[in-house]
Amino acid sequence: MMLSRVADSLFWVGRYCERAEHACRLLQITFSAGLEAGSQEAERAAVRAMTALGAPPLIGQSGSIEEAWRLTFSREDADSVYSSVARARENARQVRDQITTEMWERLNRLYFRLRETPGTSDTFAARADRVFQEVIGDLHAVKGIVEGTMSHGEGFRFLSLGRMLERAQLVVRVLEIHMAEPPGSVGEHGWMQCLRMLCGMEPFLRVKTADFRREVVTDFLVLDPEFPRSLRFCADEIDVFIQRVGVGLAAAERARCLRRSGLLKARLEFATLSDVTGRNGRQLLAEVAAAASDLNDAVRTTFFTISFQGAPGTAVA
C-alpha cells in the first residue's frame, strides 16, 4: 500500500535528483569552456549550456563566476543545484519512513555539504570542477543506493518514473536549443559538447564512431534504444514504470496515463531518421515535450490527488 502523498514525494525526489545532476553537468561544460579562452566555439557551447539552465550566458562577462557560484550554492535561487538537492532531501524527509537509511544518509550528507561549504565566489573557480565531480558522484551514489537497497516496489517505481520524466524533459530542452540554430551553425565541436551535456560521448563513439554531424548526433540522442539519456530510452522506461504503478486501480482510471505513455513510446520506437532531421526534428521534440507535460499532469491526477467518488478504490482522473 502506498500513500498518494508518499508517491508524490518520491516522484519529486527522483525529479530533483536528476535536475541537480543535470545542472552540475551543464555548469561543468561551461567551466571547461572557460579554459579554452578565446575559442568562439567553446564560448557558444557555454552559452547553449547556460541557456539550457535558463540562465544568462556567462562567458566573457564580469561576474560570471558569481553567476556560476549562484547557480550552484544559492539558497534563494530555485534553480540552483543546492535548491534541487534541498528539495530532493525535503521530499525524502517527508517520507523518511519509506526510504532506506542508506539512501537518506547519502542524500542528507550531500545536502549538508552543499549547505555548509559554499565558500565564496572568489575561490570558486579553482575548486568548481571538483565540486561538480563530487556532487555528480554523490547523486550517482544515491541512484545506486536506491537501486540496491530500496525494494523495487511501488515507491521505487514512482521515484524512477519521476527521474525518467524529468530526464526526458531535460534532454528535450538541450536538443531544442541545439536544433533551433540554423544547420551548420552548431558545428562538430558544438555537437560534441551537446553529447557531453548529456553524458553521451563514450556511448556515442562506440555506436556511431567519431562522426559528429548533426543528423548522426540527433539520431543517437533521440532514437538510440540503449543509451540511457536518449529520448527513446526514457520513453521506454517511463512506460515500464507507468504500467506497474497503481495496479490496484481499475484499468479505466489509469487509461489516460497508459495511453499517453504508450503513444509516446510507440512514436519514438517507430520513428525514422527523417523524423529527427531538419524541421521534422523540431516538430518531434515539440511532440515529446507536450506528451511529457501531459503525462506529468495525468500522473498527478490519477495517483496523487484522489478524492471520494462512489465506492472505495475509485480514483478520479
Binding site: 498518494s4 490496484g248 478504490g313
Partner: protein, 504 residues
C-alpha cells in the same frame, strides 16, 4: 578484577573525595542520591564495570566516542526541531554516552508499580467518562474533572477497547534523596522520547560493546513490535487484519523524527491529516491504488487538533469527521481523546487514593507530596513556604510556567505569589526534590548531573513494559530541569537481568 581497579582510583578516604587527577576528579557528590556512587564514594556494584571502563580509558577517548555518537545521530537524522530558529531547525538531542544503569530488583518494583498505576488510571478514566461514581462519592472534586480543559464531553459514554484509554504511557519517575523512586508525572496524551531510547541504545551498544555484553543488559529492540501488537489488539476483535496508521502533524513537528521512526519500524503507513478522509463515518487513507479503510490510528496529534468539525475549527492537522467515525465505533484512536484529563497536575495529587479505591491495593510507587492551591489551607501553606517549594501551573508542561522556589529571587517569588492568589485553582506546589545524579560526560570530563527516568508502558489486550527507558539529563551544572526544550539531554538506560556482577 576490574572492580578492584575502579574502587582503588575512585575512593579516597572516608569523605568520599576523589583524587583530583583521576577520571572522577571533577565529580561532585551532593545532597542528591547518586546512581553510581554510595555516599562514601564506593562504586555501587551494578556500576562497577562502567567505572572500570571510564578508569581505563586513555585521555581523550571518551570525548572521541561522544563525538562519534553525535556524528552518527546527525547523519541518521535523529533530530528534533527547535521552533523559531530559521537557520538551524534540526538539532540532535544532546546525548550522553555513559549509560544509566538500573539493577533487576529495582526494575521489578518499578514494573509492578507502573502496571498498577496504569491499570488504575484506565479504570479511573472509564469511570469519569462513564458512571462517574468517584465524583459522586467525593473522592475527586467534580469541578476539578469537569472543569479541566482536557475533559472531553465527546467521550462520555463511549466504550473503548479493553477499557484502555491510555495505550501508550510515558510516566516520569525521579529518585529522591533517600534513593526511592517516586512518580513525578504521568504523560497520558502523546508521550514522546521512545525513539531516543532506541537510538541511544543502538549507539551506546556500539560504543561500549565489551561492558554491554558482560553486564547482561535486557534488550529494548522489541518495542516497535510490542507497540504494533498493542495497537492491533485494539481492533482485532472485529477486524482479522486491522490496518494501523501513525498520524503525525507533519515534518515540521518537533517529534517528527520519532513518528517516522516508529512507523518505519512497525511497517505501518505514516499519515498526515490530509492523507485521511471520512466517508459515511468510516476513515479512509488515500493511496495510489485508491482509498483504503483505516482501523486504528496511533495519533501523535493533540486532542484539540484531531478533528476541525469537533474541536478547533482552524486545525489543518486533523481529519474532518474523525470524531464521528470514532463515536460510531468504526475506528480506534490511541491514546483515546480526553485521556489527558488524568495527567492533570492536580489530579495527580489524588492518584494514591484512586489506586486504593479502584484496585483495593496500596500504591507500589509513591508520588511527590503535592499541595493543591485550590484548597485554602494548603494554599496558605504554599504561600508561606514559597522559598522551599516548586510551584507548577496545572495546565503547563515541558518545564514552562513553573517556579523553583529555592532558586528564585525574592522578586520572582513575590510576582509568582500574586499569580497564585489570582488563580489558585491553576497551581500546585511540591517540595523541591534533588533528583538523583548520574555520571555524565562534560567536555571530556566525567561529572555528576541530575537525571530522571521515563519508561514506556503499553496497554491494549495486555500491558507491556519495555525493559528500558529514556533517562533525561539536566546538562547544566546543578540544574534540575531535564526537559529537552530547556537544555536537557538524554542517556541510554540499561536494565540489567541480574545484579550487574556479571563475569568480565
Amino acid at each position: 578484577m576490574a572492580r578492584g581497579a575502579a574502587d582503588k582510583s575512585a575512593v579516597s578516604g572516608p569523605g568520599g573525595v576523589f583524587p583530583p587527577d583521576g577520571p572522577f576528579g571533577d565529580y561532585a557528590l551532593g545532597r542528591a542520591y547518586d546512581e553510581m556512587f554510595a555516599a562514601g564514594g564506593e562504586v555501587r556494584p551494578h556500576y562497577a564495570s562502567l567505572a572500570a571502563r571510564i578508569d581505563a580509558a586513555p585521555s581523550g577517548q571518551l570525548e572521541a566516542l561522544q563525538a562519534q555518537v553525535e556524528n552518527t545521530f546527525m547523519t541518521q537524522g535523529v533530530t528534533f526541531t527547535v521552533y523559531g530558529h530559521e537557520d538551524a531547525t534540526e538539532k540532535i538531542i544532546p546525548t550522553d554516552i555513559l549509560p544509566r544503569i538500573v539493577p533487576a530488583a529495582e526494575w521489578d518494583r518499578l514494573e509492578r508499580g507502573f502496571k498498577q498505576r496504569l491499570e488504575a488510571i484506565n479504570l479511573f478514566l472509564g469511570d469519569i467518562y462513564g458512571r462517574q461514581q468517584l465524583m459522586r462519592d467525593g473522592l475527586v472534586p467534580r469541578e476539578l474533572i469537569l472543569g479541566s480543559p482536557n475533559y472531553m464531553r465527546e467521550m462520555a459514554g463511549i466504550e473503548v477497547p479493553h477499557g484502555a484509554y491510555v495505550n501508550i504511557c510515558g510516566t516520569d519517575v525521579i529518585r529522591n534523596e533517600a534513593g526511592d523512586y517516586v512518580v513525578l508525572e504521568d504523560n497520558l496524551r502523546v508521550p514522546s522520547g521512545v525513539s531516543y531510547m532506541l537510538a541511544n541504545r543502538e549507539a551506546v551498544k556500539r560504543t561500549f560493546p565489551d561492558i554491554y555484553r558482560s553486564a547482561k543488559v535486557r534488550p529494548v529492540e522489541s518495542y516497535p513490535d510490542d507497540l504494533l501488537h498493542t495497537l492491533r489488539s485494539l481492533a482485532s476483535e472485529y477486524q482479522p487484519d486491522p490496518q494501523v496508521v501513525v498520524l503525525t502533524p507533519g515534518v515540521y513537528n518537533s517529534a517528527y523524527f520519532e513518528h517516522a521512526f516508529l512507523a518505519r519500524l512497525m511497517g505501518t503507513p505514516l499519515v498526515e491529516g490530509r492523507d485521511l478522509m471520512v466517508h459515511d463515518n468510516v476513515v479512509f487513507v488515500r493511496t495510489t491504488s485508491g482509498l483504503r479503510r483505516v482501523d486504528v490510528i496511533y495519533r501523535r496529534v493533540d486532542d484539540a487538533f484531531l478533528d476541525p468539525l469537533a474541536f478547533r475549527p482552524d486545525s489543518a492537522l486533523g481529519v474532518p469527521g474523525l470524531m464521528n467515525a470514532y463515536r460510531a465505533g468504526n475506528v480506534v484512536i490511541a491514546n483515546a481523546p480526553g485521556a489527558g484529563v488524568a495527567d492533570d497536575k492536580a489530579v495527580y495529587a489524588y492518584t494514591p487514593q484512586i489506586i486504593k479505591t479502584l484496585l483495593d491495593q496500596d500504591p507500589i510507587l509513591d508520588i511527590v507530596e503535592t499541595f493543591l492551591c485550590r484548597e485554602k489551607s494548603q494554599c496558605q501553606h504554599v504561600l508561606a513556604n514559597l522559598d522551599k517549594l516548586v510551584v507548577k501551573a496545572v495546565g503547563e508542561s515541558g518545564g514552562y510556567g513553573m517556579l523553583i522556589g529555592p532558586h528564585a529571587s525574592k522578586a520572582e517569588r513575590e510576582a509568582f505569589a500574586d499569580k497564585i492568589k489570582a488563580d489558585p485553582d491553576n497551581y500546585i506546589a511540591q517540595p523541591t526534590i534533588s533528583l538523583s545524579t548520574a555520571p555524565t560526560l562534560v567536555n571530556g570530563r566525567v561529572e555528576s548531573r541530575h537525571v530522571d527516568l521515563r519508561p514506556f508502558i503499553l496497554c491494549g489486550a495486555k500491558t507491556t513494559l519495555t525493559p528500558g527507558a529514556l533517562t533525561r539529563v539536566a546538562l547544566r551544572k546543578g540544574s534540575l530541569v531535564v526537559n529537552s526544550s530547556q537544555g536537557g539531554g538524554s542517556k541510554d538506560t540499561w536494565v540489567l537481568s541480574g545484579d550487574g556482577r556479571g563475569r568480565p
